[in-house]
C-alpha cells in the first residue's frame, strides 16, 4: 500500500497537534537540563508550518517536506530549529518529485532524516539527544520493512524502539547541546529533543 501526499500532510498536522499538546511537557523537560524553551520553540515552528501547508498540499511529497523544513529553520531558532529543519529538508530531498511513497521510500525518508540530524548536530548515539530516539527507530523500521512486514506494523515497531530510545536518555550524561554544560547533573532527566522525536515517530505510525 502506497503512502500518498495527503497522508504526509496528515502526519505533519498530527505532529503539530502533538507538539501543541505536549508543549508544556517538552518545555518542562528542557527546564530541567536546558533553557525551558523546547516546547515553545517547536510549537511556534509548527504553527507556522500549519499556516504554510495549504499552499504546498498539491505539490509533491519532496516539496512538502522541504517547505516544512525551511519553515522550521526560520521560525524555531535554538538547536531545535536547524536540527528539525534539516531533518525535514533532507527527508524532502529523498522524496523529491514523488507524489506517492512505497514502503522502501518511507524507510529512505527516515534514513535521510536521521542522517540530516547527524550531519547537522554531529551527535552520536549515547550523547543524550534526539539521535538516541531516531537511531533505533530508523533501524527497527528498516529491519521490519526489509523483513517483509507491512508498513503500519513496521512503523509500530519503530515507535516502540523510539520510545525505548527516548527513555534510554534518562540515565545518560549529555555530551551535546545545552544540557552538556550540566555535566553529571544532566543524568536522571529525559532529553526534551529525544521526546519530541518520539512524538514524530508516533504520529507517523498513526498516519502513514
Amino acid at each position: 500500500m502506497a503512502v500518498d501526499r495527503q497522508q504526509v500532510v496528515q502526519w505533519i498536522q498530527a505532529y503539530a497537534a502533538a507538539i501543541r499538546e505536549n508543549r508544556d511537557y517538552l518545555t518542562q523537560l528542557d527546564a530541567a537540563i536546558g533553557d525551558a524553551d523546547h516546547g515553545a520553540n517547536m510549537d511556534r515552528g509548527f504553527q507556522a508550518v500549519l499556516g504554510k501547508l495549504p499552499t504546498v498540499a498539491d505539490k509533491d511529497i519532496g516539496a512538502i517536506l522541504k517547505t516544512v523544513g525551511m519553515t522550521l529553520v526560520s521560525t524555531v531558532g535554538g538547536a531545535g530549529g536547524p536540527l528539525y529543519g534539516t531533518l525535514f529538508m533532507q527527508a524532502g530531498q529523498a522524496e523529491a518529485g514523488k507524489t506517492e511513497m512505497t514502503d522502501q521510500d518511507v524507510v529512505a525518508l527516515f534514513e535521510a532524516a536521521l542522517k540530516g540530524v547527524i550531519v547537522r548536530g554531529k551527535a552520536e548515539p549515547g550523547d543524550k539527544t534526539m539521535v538516541d530516539t531516531l537511531t533505533p527507530a530508523v533501524n527497527a523500521l528498516k529491519e521490519a520493512v526489509d523483513g517483509g512486514a507491512p508498513l503500519d506494523e513496521a512503523l509500530k515497531q519503530a515507535m516502540t524502539a523510539a520510545e525505548e530510545g527516548m527513555k534510554g536518555t534518562i540515565p545518560l550524561v549529555a555530551r551535546k547541546g545545552r544540557a552538556s554544560y550540566l555535566g553529571e547533573r544532566s543524568a536522571g532527566h529525559q532529553d526534551p529533543g529525544a521526546t519530541s522525536s518520539y512524538l514524530l515517530v508516533k504520529t507517523a505510525a498513526e498516519t502513514l
Binding site: 518545555t27 533553557d35 525551558a36 524553551d37 515553545a40 520553540n41 529553520v73 526560520s74 521560525t75 524555531v76 531558532g77 535554538g78 538547536a79 531545535g80 530549529g81 536547524p82 536540527l83 529543519g85 534539516t86 547537522r120 548536530g121 549529555a174 555530551r175 551535546k176 547541546g177 545545552r178 552538556s180 554544560y181 550540566l182 555535566g183 547533573r185
Partner: protein, 340 residues
C-alpha cells in the same frame, strides 16, 4: 494588551512582542546610526553597505542588551541578528543581514559557542557559500566556568564577544581582508577568558517565572548568560571573596602571567548597579597587581547582560599592539562610543 493581566515586574506590553517592540524603540532612538529590518529581524548600519569593507555580523538570543544590536555602527558591527529572548536567531536572519550589508569583501560571522547559535549560523553560511559570497565564522568560547572537552558542546561564549566585536569591527573599518580579520578574531578569542556569577535569577518574559531558583542567601558561581548553571552554588560571600573566585580561575586558565598587558572588563548581568561594579573592579585590580599583570585598558558597565539578573562577570583579554590599536579606534554605536 490592555486587558491582559500584567504580573511581571517588567516594563513590557506583551511577552511575545518584547523583541519586536524593543527593535522598534531602537530604530526610533538611533535612526541616525542604525536601521532595523523586520521579518527576518536584524539591525544594520544606516550607511550599509560599506563598499570594499568586510561586513562583520553577529547575533544571538535577545536579552543581553546592548549586545548585539547596540554594537551596530561605525567601527563595530555592520549587522546584528537578535533571536527571541535567550533563543538563537534563525539562518534567514543572518543570511538576509549578510545580503544587506555585504560590501563585496566578504562576511565575517561572530558566533557564540552555543549549539543553536553554531548550527543556525552554519546554515546561513552555507546559503552564502552557495551564492559564492565569501564567509568566515569565528566562534567565541571564553567561559572558563565550563570545562572544555572535544566531545561536548564545549565552552560557552560570553564577555570576550563584546571585546571581539569592537576590535574586529575596528580592523574591518581599517580595511582588513576577510582572512586577516578572521585570524585577528580567533586571536582575540584565544586570548580572552571570562567567568560570571549570579546573585539572583532572571525571568524570560514569555516563560513568566524565574529561569532558576536561588535561595535568599545563595549565589551561583560560574553562571551562564542564559542562566545556565555554573560551577557551584554557595552561600553569599563578600565582594572581595567573589572576585577572587572569578579572577583566579580566569588567570589560571590562559594562563595570564606577570608582565602581561590586559583589557579588564567588569560587566553587570543587568540588575547589578555601577556602584557595585567599581567595588568589584577595585579588588580585581588589586589581585592582578599582585600578580604583576598590567591593566592597560578597561571597560566597566552592563554590556553583556542577562535581562535583569543581578550579578557580574569579569573578562580578561591579553592584549598585543594590534588588539590595543583596534580597541582604541574611534567607535560610534548606540552602546559603545568614543572618538567620534
Amino acid at each position: 494588551m490592555q486587558n491582559k493581566e500584567v504580573h511581571l515586574k517588567k516594563l513590557i506590553n506583551n511577552p511575545e512582542m518584547v523583541v519586536r517592540e524593543e527593535l522598534e524603540g531602537v530604530a526610533l532612538a538611533h535612526g541616525d546610526l542604525v536601521k532595523v529590518n523586520y521579518d527576518p529581524n536584524f539591525v544594520y548600519r544606516a550607511d550599509a553597505p560599506t563598499q570594499g569593507k568586510v561586513a562583520v555580523i553577529s547575533g544571538g538570543g535577545s536579552g543581553h542588551e546592548p549586545m548585539h544590536g547596540g554594537f551596530v555602527g561605525y567601527s563595530m558591527l555592520d549587522a546584528a541578528c537578535p533571536g527571541a529572548v535567550f533563543t538563537s536567531p534563525t539562518p534567514d536572519q543572518m543570511y538576509e543581514a549578510a545580503k544587506k550589508v555585504d560590501g563585496g569583501a566578504g562576511v565575517l560571522y561572530i558566533v557564540k559557542n552555543y549549539t543553536g547559535d553554531v548550527m543556525n549560523f552554519e546554515m546561513a553560511a552555507d546559503l552564502l557559500k552557495a551564492e559564492d559570497i565569501p564567509v568566515e565564522s569565528v566562534l567565541v568560547d571564553d567561559d572558563v566556568a565550563v570545562q572544555n572537552s572535544t566531545w561536548t558542546a564545549g565552552r560557552r561564549g560570553v564577555g570576550t564577544t563584546v571585546l571581539m566585536e569592537k576590535i574586529v569591527g575596528g580592523a574591518a573599518e581599517a580595511g582588513y581582508s576577510l582572512e586577516k580579520l578572521a585570524e585577528l578574531a580567533r586571536k582575540v578569542n584565544a586570548n580572552g577568558r571570562s567567568m560570571g556569577m549570579a546573585l539572583t535569577s532572571c525571568t524570560v518574559p514569555h516563560v513568566g517565572k524565574p529561569t532558576f531558583e536561588l535561595g535568599e542567601d545563595e549565589m551561583e558561581i560560574g553562571i551562564g548568560i542564559h542562566g545556565e548553571p555554573g560551577r557551584t552554588r554557595m552561600k553569599l560571600q563578600s565582594a572581595d571573596q567573589i572576585v577572587e573566585m572569578l579572577v583566579e580561575p580566569i588567570v589560571a586558565d590562559l594562563p595570564f602571567k606577570g608582565g602581561d598587558n590586559v583589557l579588564a572588563f567588569v560587566n553587570s548581568m543587568g540588575g547589578t548597579p555601577l556602584v557595585e561594579l567599581y567595588i568589584v573592579y577595585r579588588k580585581m585590580a588589586e589581585i592582578l597587581k599582585g600578580k604583576g599583570i598590567n591593566i592597560t585598558r578597561n571597560l566597566v558597565g552592563p554590556y553583556i547582560t542577562s535581562l535583569e539578573m543581578a550579578g557580574a562577570s569579569i573578562t580578561l583579554l591579553k592584549l598585543d599592539d594590534e588588539m590595543t590599536k583596534f580597541w582604541d579606534a574611534p567607535v560610534q554605536t548606540p552602546g559603545l562610543r568614543w572618538g567620534r
